[in-house]
């Protein structure tokens, strides 16, 4: 039962499925579209935000670095000032002052003064110098000689001047004039700075989880500082410096290292360095993944919700229709005893009401047909009975015996002949419909017999229009009427009566008229004469008339049948209205 119900609910061609499927498809499409738009929008915003954020961070670092370099320049100027202020070199006062400066900062590695030929004048630390320093060949020394009076910054290198230390430094150097032993000479002032501050600055950069910043030299693209310097030096890591060199500031996407990264460049003024920020796109992608999973959840949720709703809604829409369909199926199988309960006054409700009306009407019509068929069979049976009419035959034969007894042979012959004719037409080869001429002949024989039986208690006359004779009539319609006229109209009366029978065609309809001048029928009796006989059989009279009327109306319709006019003491006229059908039209 449940299984069947389930299968019925998910028939693929059902309206319910159609509604549910189209609704779901539409919702999914809309949700997908919205998701895609949201995702795209989010993506762009995330990328833009990252770019902006990175630029801000890198700008901040650049500003800090610039500030640091300015402060180092200030230190350099201070040292330079102290040296030019002292008249004689080296002297202890100057050494003390320089020592103070040297130890006040932990990022100073060397303060040293050399002659242009590379001889040490004074230095901090004051430890022994190594041999093989190739001092004059070193870059920082050469650039001061080439650009006098200009403070130059070197690329990072290992300072190899003093025993006991090999330190990575950036050298600040400048060629200055000073007096040594009373003689003015050119000298080179060197201040070496280690990477402590630069490292601190760079490490403070937060560009996502994995992002970092590095510093390059603007002119040659040398990497000055990189948090993963060793990896770069060992050739395990590669930075696409050429691309970064093209930018003064700004952001771009780079995948030259195999990973999608966002590069942000900012130039540091007055040293010719550039800070390059690197952030990893897959971190944006991480948040992107979160959004994706959120959207997937949303989609699943909406889908489940919509599925339930549409399942419920489509069931609600299609179930009444399915009920209607089932009821129709029942009707199709012949069960008309069906009534659909109407729950609401919507389209289906109205349709159900119409359906109910239709079924009721069909049921009524069917009942009527059954009833009519029954009535027809019954009246045909009665006709059959009236064809034989045993009581009449018995009476007639008694009369014949009496006549024969009294020797009235003429009358016996007449009576027997009439009886024979009467029965021939009564039977008329089993046909129901006979020409008016035969019907009139039949009634004439009947009247002859009855007249002899009632000892000329009445006279009769039969008139027929030529036209009416060819018309067809149900057989034996006149006999019950005439029988009534004799028994109830003429016989009870004291006087001799007259029965007139006529056949006329009026407006294409055939009228057979039986007229007597007997007692007549009272208006109260007249009123019930043609109505249905009561089931308890109280009313004995007029059953014949009623039957004739029913037979005609069943055969030809309600516009035909009997019409009775009667007046007390004046007689009764019974008109039998029939369609004037002729032999050739009958079929």
């Amino acid at each position: 039962m449940r299984g069947m119900r389930f299968r019925r609910l998910y028939r693929f061609k059902s309206m319910q499925f159609l509604i549910a499927a189209s609704f779901t498809a539409m919702t999914v499409l809309v949700v997908l579209f919205v998701s895609a738009v949201l995702y795209d929008k989010f993506n762009r915003t995330a990328e833009k935000n990252t770019s902006l954020n990175n630029q801000q961070v890198i700008y901040q670092v650049a500003a800090n670095l610039e500030y640091y370099i300015r402060s180092m320049t200030t230190v350099f100027s201070a040292v330079e000032q102290k040296i030019s202020d002292s008249r004689e070199l080296p002297n202890t006062a100057l050494s003390d002052q320089l020592d103070t400066i040297f130890h006040s900062r932990e990022d100073l590695v060397t303060i040293a003064l050399f002659t242009e030929s590379g001889q040490r004048i004074t230095s901090l630390p004051s430890s022994d110098m190594r041999s093989n320093t190739h001092l004059a060949a070193q870059n920082w020394f050469r650039s001061t000689v080439e650009n006098p009076n200009h403070l130059s910054f070197s690329v990072p290198h290992v300072q190899n001047l003093f025993k006991g230390q090999y330190k990575w430094v950036v050298s600040m150097s400048k060629s200055i004039k000073l007096t040594v032993g009373g003689q003015e000479t050119n000298a080179v002032l060197l201040v070496d700075v280690n990477f402590k501050m630069i490292d601190d600055l760079s490490r403070s950069v937060k560009l996502g989880q994995k992002g970092y910043a590095y510093i390059i030299d603007e002119s040659a693209g040398n990497i000055i500082y990189h948090p993963q310097q060793q990896l770069i030096y060992a050739g395990l890591k590669y930075e696409n410096v050429e691309q970064a060199l093209k930018y003064t500031y700004g952001s771009y996407l780079d995948d030259s290292t195999g990973v999608n990264r966002m590069i942000t460049v900012q130039t540091v003024n007055n040293v010719g360095w550039k800070i390059v920020g690197v952030s990893y796109m897959d971190e944006i992608v991480t948040t992107r993944k979160e959004i994706t999973s959120f959207l997937i959840w949303l989609l699943a949720f909406v889908l489940a919700f919509v599925l339930l709703i549409t399942w419920y809604m489509s069931a609600k829409i299609s179930q009444p229709i399915q009920r209607l369909e089932k009821s129709m199926q029942q009707v199709e199988r012949g069960n008309f005893n069906i009534h659909i309960p109407i729950r609401r006054d919507d389209e289906v409700g109205r349709l159900s009401r119409r359906f109910n009306l239709m079924v009721t009407r069909i049921r009524e019509l069917m009942n009527q047909i059954i009833h009519e068929q029954e009535a027809k069979r019954k009246s045909e049976l009665e006709v059959l009975q009236s064809q034989i009419h045993p009581h009449f035959l018995y009476n007639t034969l008694n009369s014949v015996v009496r006549l024969a007894g009294t020797g009235k042979n003429e009358d016996v012959i007449t009576m027997i002949t009439s009886l024979s004719k009467f029965f021939r037409i009564s039977l008329s080869k089993g046909r129901h419909v006979i020409p008016v001429a035969d019907e009139l002949e039949h009634i004439r024989n009947y009247l002859i017999i009855q007249k002899m039986r009632y000892k000329n208690k009445f006279e009769f006359a039969i008139h027929a229009e030529e036209e009416a004779l060819d018309c067809l009539t149900l057989k034996l319609v006149l006999q019950p009427i005439v029988e009534n006229a004799i028994y109830h109209g003429i016989e009870p009366g004291a006087d001799e009566g007259l029965i007139t029978i006529s056949a006329t065609v009026i407006d294409g309809k055939l009228r057979l008229r039986v007229q007597d001048d007997g007692l007549g029928i009272g208006p109260d009796q007249l009123a019930v004469l043609l109505s249905d006989p009561s089931p308890d059989g109280q009313r004995q009279t007029g059953i014949g008339l009623h039957n004739v009327n029913e037979r005609i109306r069943l055969q030809f319709g309600d516009e035909f049948g009997l019409q009775i006019k009667s007046e007390r003491e004046a007689g009764t006229t019974v008109d039998v209205w029939l369609p004037c059908l002729r032999e050739e039209e009958r079929t």
Binding site: R130, S131, N132, T133, H134, Q138, V155, H157, V158, N160, K163, Y166, K167, W168, N194, F195, K196, D199, K210, Q228, Q229, Q230, L231, Y233, A234, L236, T286, S293, F294, W297, L298, A300, F301, A304, F305, L308, I309, Y312
Partner: protein
């Protein structure tokens, strides 16, 4: 009517459950526990601190927790085996091992392999097929490079001493083999003696003195370890034979670099300890992730002399970056 109410209730319940599920999904974050990689070095010397720096760089890049440990002495095999067992018991996810002994560490590696802990050997190879990868210098090739440089320095003819630190050390043996093979077809290049002088430069200095005084004329010394190199350099300085006896060394300890700049050591063959540390951890992480890794990764060796030591590229190799 009743069933409709029931259906509605089920529907609402289902929706609530869904919503709950969705919220749960949001709360759940990526708090995956970090993998722990243990680096067990041979000692805490200069060379190994550079290895450690490389390992730390890799640990940061691949988001793993790095634990560094080493016995006090390069010959202390027993302590190293204990360290391996200790960290396996602590539940290390991966092991980067610079073995003190070619053979004695192999059961430890096999044990780690049984526990499903990948082992990457760095610097010194281990006599087992269970290591996932070996990351280090091809010492045989480095020996040949050193021999080639010596030949260039002395002018294609000479008598030489080979000075190692301890007998049976595989790396040193491989270097010596490289030197001998390089000169195998050259009778002009003659190895007079091979000696082991221990781990301190003082003992190596004494050994050098012994060898030099007993011999005729020696044109060059090949010092296969940094202690042998500094010992020999000190002795050459003392005997004022700088330049007359060419000294070709291995590695780049600060002492060796001082002697190199002073001109006592003519050339040194340097390894790449930073790369060893970095690639060791990287390879361990990769094999933890189930990726296939190369069985041998050569980090390369380079000959540096006094002229080239301050070239920009070589500076980067010689001087580990320290503030």
């Amino acid at each position: 009517m009743k069933s409709r109410v029931l259906r509605m209730a089920v529907l609402i319940l289902f929706c609530c459950a869904l919503a709950a599920c969705a919220r749960q999904g949001e709360i759940r974050t990526v708090a995956e526990s970090q993998k722990q990689i243990v680096l067990i070095a041979q000692s805490n010397g200069e060379f190994w601190s550079t290895v450690k720096m490389g390992a730390e760089a890799a640990a940061k890049e691949f988001d793993v927790k790095l634990t560094f440990d080493a016995p006090a002495d390069e010959t202390d095999t027993k302590t190293q085996i204990e360290l391996v067992n200790k960290y396996l018991a602590y539940g290390a996810d991966g092991l980067v091992l610079a073995a003190n002994d070619y053979k004695k560490l192999s059961p430890s590696v096999a044990k780690a392999d049984r526990l499903g802990v990948p082992v990457v050997a760095i610097e010194s190879d281990i006599d087992t097929g269970k290591v996932r990868s070996f990351v280090g210098t091809d010492n045989y090739q480095a020996g040949r490079q050193a021999a080639g440089k010596m030949k260039e320095l002395v002018g294609k003819r000479g008598r030489f001493l080979i000075l190692g630190s301890a007998a049976g050390t595989r790396n040193v043996d491989r270097r010596e083999q490289g030197i001998r093979d390089e000169w195998a077809n050259d009778p002009a290049m003659q190895v007079v003696a091979t000696a082991q002088c221990g781990l301190s430069s003082a003992s190596c200095s004494r050994k050098t003195q012994e060898l030099l005084t007993g011999q005729e004329r020696i044109d060059g010394i090949l010092a296969l370890s940094s202690s042998a190199a500094t010992g020999a350099a000190v002795q050459i300085q003392k005997m004022k034979l700088a330049g007359q006896i060419k000294l070709v060394a291995f590695d780049n300890s600060p002492d060796e670099l001082e002697w190199l700049q002073e001109g006592i050591i003519q050339a040194t063959v340097i390894q790449n300890p930073f790369s060893m540390g970095y690639l060791g951890v990287k390879t361990a992480v990769e094999s933890l992730d189930g990726k296939s890794v190369e069985k041998r990764i050569d980090t390369g060796a380079k000959v540096i002399d006094a002229q080239s030591m301050f070239w920009s590229d070589n500076q980067k190799m010689l001087f580990p970056f320290v503030q």
